[in-house]
Symmetry: C2
């Protein structure tokens, strides 16, 4: 690898451990002995300004005293000592530094200040920094454990990056029991310099990395992460356990869209777009480690289940169906093979039941047949310990099948002591075993969905035919006028003009100064009409500012006077703008369409069931702009209301092509105007007669 | 215990094993040696019609040759030999028999016939029968393993009943590893005689049974199961893993209600009503076994989390909140105690973070403080193996707390080898440990919900004031008339009359013979009107048989002619009934209210979002009649649309009291008329102006 900025960091030839000591339980002492006790072939120097020797080796008072160039400095020192040491390292020309010390970003004013100083030093010196507040890292293939973890990971193909040092310890302990190996094992800490995105980029160019496991709490650079992850996921899977699903963010939203597109849901949308598999629990996350340890990618979601117990077959089938998978429809040839090899009473349909006394040769024959069947994307073999079950021979039989590696094969050996021998055989053969079949099926389906997302993401972006330049010009004028008036919400006619510019038709609202004028307008545009109070405030309905379905001039006048009275009661004078008259639009479906600039990832688009349904049914989906027509349709298809929009039974739906066009055009708006904070179009009224935005507001950044 | 019909069965003094042999791997051989090798103090006789001795003990040619009275006969013989042997046993006055042999209910015509014969013999002879097609049972407290399972369960307080022999093997093997004990371990098989309900009744009178675990595939007697489970759950928990969630049944439904109240959803409603906790996966099921092994019942869903790692704390908090739990708000006293005992940097808020180097005394102090805090219903202690973590001492510290048994305490020791010592200490102390915190929290919340369901179930049923007698009389006349006409669907005016009788107002439909007559009626009742084709068929909208919002006489005539034409096109003459004119009712919300007679459990009631939403949003809930007003409100509150019905923001809702009354009255209808197969009221239109059934159909059993 050439010009790999992180290669020298993760593959150093010379390492200095600052804070190395004779005390085995001190952090510095542990790091030094971890490096020494491995098979690392480079040099390691202890740095200790008090002792002349450490663990029997000559110690140096400072990094500068080491005569050789130091590729990597590992710093285990109290927080206040770290910056001077870092300066030393930079002056000595160290290529990189790991700061394991805590006491920076997470602790107080001084800590945050020092954290910024570390970042600045990294940028100006070019020295690469991992941490602070981390465990360090291990490069098991190089026999290097530059961390104070009390164990060393096994070599393998999984790159693990964790923002929690404790989870490193947990995964490490589990992985040693289960013989799971890692290409890299990185505790990222507060990520002052080296972060998720850069490591993913680096790993994507390393053929020894077969997959990535991420434990993430926060992220520095959203767009770079998306690009890096998307790139990696083109060929290899990333699984992420993201903490903080219930973190704040949504609470402060100024619109429905803002509330819908809360931090966690945007992360989910980003993961889906990038092709990252999201694990729901720690257990699921670790089960992916089992799976990826010898990853074979399923090409689809059709599973063959082989079992020696009816119950586990039924439970597995339920779980598969409930989570979007399907049972393979076995080919005729497979069924014939099964008929000739299994006992007469065995079920040859899928799930294949080899019966309670399922013999090793029956398991072997069933797995073999499924490996050859084109309708099978993955094989789940369930072995319950029954009276005569020979766990060892069954495992040997399956593991010895010649083309066993041709497809993902998952084993659930449902027992403990009675199946231990069999589990061990599979472990050695690199075939993952799981305590229960559901755990395996969840991983199978996660990988299958990744492949599907990938195929979708590879489709060419089709051009959206529209004059976006003049749309932008027109909208810019409206935004400028609103900015001049210091409007905190752009709604009513101004919002309608912006949306109209992007080809999203609205319902003209005619301002009326008096009740009489409102009645005159109503007669002109035709009854029934609606009156709406236009103010700088949200929730006009709640303020008594909306009257719908007014059928006569008298009703219009009465409603006008009432709205005016409500406005006087509830609004400060400066908030009152005008009362408008609109022709009532009666369409079958109410949607919400919105946009939000996420602080981390930039613009996101929201689509879903609108009106009051938006808060009740929570039937919305989030996508990333720009959308082409196909992307818009995919986004819409994630909602339940889409079934109605397509036309349901003999009830006509909406013009889906036109709606997809509206969404594609709309998705450009937040990209063209980054000063937008949130946009809510609710409701967007649609049915077979057309598409009209009945109420829209645009909230600019202050 | 007196007059306990199953006591002699599960606590026999004399046992005969029919089919006992010298071959250790034969089923009969295994059963005989299992009984002999246990600490069972009674007598066991081998019965073998070929050999004079079995395993060194004198064998008898038949049960009748045994001179003593046999309490229990265990029959391991090929299916065709079973009935004659059973006859022998009955004649010899055996109290009970276990039939382990398969080849009955599950296999062919002869098998089903023999199965019926077994049932008949049980009923006529009074001999109790377990199986056929089962593993047998174990009574570990009596040292009795009357099964051919290759291991013997430990004694304890969990009664386990499984309809899968294989799952018995799995749970047994796991339980031996984890030191989980059982009061009874029963493989129920095809349940020809002894079934779930009777065993639950029996266990409810046994103080040695602390909880019940059920693995269920099917059920014989729904109502008896509900009663038995409800009774048991008053004081002790039942957890059920129910297989077959995706089984058929819904497909054949004749109405929306029928499709909604599919077999699996009815099971869920039944479990909730009875207080049975439903486990979602095998893994969750077994985690309940860990929990129940030393069950302390949480009094609420407020959890204190203690952790030595921020990440696991965040993940646990997320999981808790997403699944309906909440973090305890620690009392001031607790926070003070924590402040004086934990290191300064530790978090004293919940989750309590004892920091990465969390020492044994810190864990102990935090758990102690939470045990004393009245705001804490349960304690989750998470221990990640970090560099200095002393798993053994932490475990000793926590396990040694004097009042450790005062509340449910859950431990997640997140590691393998590095925490093995600590896990072992908790195991011996009877404190459950879990691989990940989410697994423990799921069990905590399941038990908390059980307690809550229990409190709700204990509320007195409040009388519904209504003259149900005359309602029944009126409805009976309409049913009789429909039966006379052999109507396969009762709808239109007939359905309206039945519902009206039960205090559920409908919208009168006026039959019109001609277009002109329809127009005349419309003028009389007032525009706008709707025209509807009344036929014996569902989905009249799809047949072009519904026209809404007709504003003029001309529109009415045109619509009438079109409906007539559509009817001619789509309907056979015998299905055409009439075309009716109704006044349009325009209300804000459309609900579905329905009833179905479930073949296993009897009547169930459905409530939810109606109109087209019913199939799209799937926002429905299922309850069991009769409902009082409180029960009706609880049922309704399970749906999302209930938020709108209660009044949302300043939008007026419906009269919830009146709606609850409607539901309570309606819930009587399927109880009063068991000949009803399904009822659909869709939509039931409601808002603040009232409640009207706009369309209803009642499908009687054929």
């Amino acid at each position: 690898m050439q010009n790999e900025p992180l290669d020298g960091f993760f593959n150093p030839q010379t390492i200095a451990v600052i804070g190395a000591s004779d005390r085995p339980h001190s952090v510095g002492g542990a790091i030094f002995s971890n490096i020494k006790n491995g098979t690392f072939t480079g040099k390691v120097f202890p740095v200790n300004n008090k002792n002349a020797s450490v663990q029997g080796q000559k110690a140096f008072p400072s990094v500068g005293d080491i005569s050789e160039k130091v590729d990597l400095a590992v710093i285990a020192a109290p927080a206040p000592a770290v910056l001077p040491i870092l300066d030393d390292c930079a002056r000595a020309g160290a290529g990189g530094a790991v700061i394991v010390s805590s006491g920076f970003k997470e602790s107080g004013k001084q800590g945050k200040k020092d954290f910024s100083a570390i970042q600045k030093l990294a940028r100006t010196s070019g020295m690469r920094i991992l941490g602070p507040n981390c465990l360090g890292f291990a490069n098991p293939r190089a026999g290097l454990n530059a961390s104070f973890a009390p164990q060393s990971p096994l070599p393998g193909s999984i790159a693990f990056i964790s923002q929690s040092g404790a989870l490193c310890g947990t995964l490490l302990d589990w992985s040693l029991r289960d013989n799971i190996g890692f290409s890299h094992f990185v505790s990222i800490g507060s990520a002052a310099d080296i972060d998720f995105a850069e490591m993913i980029e680096y790993f994507s160019r390393d053929e020894n990395v077969g997959s990535i496991l991420l434990y993430m709490e926060s992220l520095n650079d959203g767009p770079r992460f998306i690009a890096a992850a998307r790139d990696f996921c083109q060929t290899k899977p990333i699984v992420c356990l993201k903490a903080g699903a219930n973190s704040a963010g949504a609470a402060a939203a100024a619109s429905h869209t803002g509330a819908i597109a809360g931090n966690d849901k945007v992360f989910s949308a980003v993961f889906e777009r990038a092709g990252v598999i999201r694990a729901a629990t720690i257990s699921e996350f670790y089960n992916y480690a089992r799976t990826l340890n010898h990853c074979k990618k399923p090409q689809g979601r059709r599973l063959a289940i082989i079992t020696n117990a009816g119950g586990s077959g039924v439970i597995s089938t339920d779980f598969l169906a409930q989570n979007g998978g399907e049972l393979s429809k076995l080919a005729t040839k497979t069924i014939k093979t099964l008929a000739s090899t299994l006992p007469p009473a065995a079920s040859r349909a899928n799930p294949i039941d080899v019966l309670g006394d399922g013999a090793p040769e029956h398991y072997r024959a069933a797995v073999s047949a499924c490996l050859k069947d084109k309708n099978v994307d993955g094989i789940m073999a369930i072995i319950s310990p029954q009276a005569v079950t020979q766990s060892k021979k069954i495992a040997e039989g399956i593991a010895g099948i010649e083309d066993i590696a041709a497809k993902p094969v998952f084993i659930s050996f449902m027992g403990a002591a009675r199946v231990a021998e069999g589990v061990e055989i599979f472990r050695r053969a690199g075939i993952p075993t799981y305590r229960t079949p559901e755990k395996a099926i969840a991983c199978f389906l996660g990988l299958a969905k990744w492949q599907k997302d990938l195929k979708r993401a590879k489709k060419a972006f089709s051009r959206v035919r529209f004059d976006f330049d003049s749309a932008k010009n027109t909208a810019a004028e409206v935004f400028a006028a609103a900015a001049e008036k210091k409007q905190s919400i752009i709604d009513g006619e101004a919002a309608r003009k912006i949306l109209q510019a992007y080809g999203l038709p609205g319902n003209p609202a005619h301002p009326a100064k008096t009740a009489g004028q409102a009645a005159t307008i109503a007669k002109k545009i035709g009854f029934p009409v609606a009156l709406k109070l236009q103010s700088g405030l949200a929730h006009k309905t709640e303020l008594g500012g909306v009257r719908l379905n007014l059928d006569t001039a008298a009703e219009v006048k009465k409603a006008f006077n009432e709205i005016e009275k409500n406005a006087e009661k509830h609004l400060r004078a400066k908030d009152f703008r005008e009362i408008t008259v609109e022709k009532m639009v009666d369409k079958k479906y109410e949607l919400i369409v919105g946009a939000k600039i996420d602080p981390l990832f930039g613009p996101v688009i929201v689509f879903g069931a609108g009106g009051t349904a938006v808060e009740i049914f929570d039937d919305t989906a989030i996508g990333l702009p720009p959308l082409d027509a196909a992307g818009a349709k995919e986004l819409m298809a994630k909602t339940k209301i889409f079934k109605l929009l397509k036309g349901y039974r003999n009830i006509k739906g909406a013009d889906i092509e036109e709606l997809a066009g509206v969404m594609a055009r709309f998705s450009r708006l937040p990209l063209d105007f980054p000063q937008i904070k949130e946009i809510d179009i609710n409701p967007l009224a649609v049915d077979q007669t057309g598409i009209v935005a009945l109420d829209a507001k645009i909230i600019p950044e202050k």
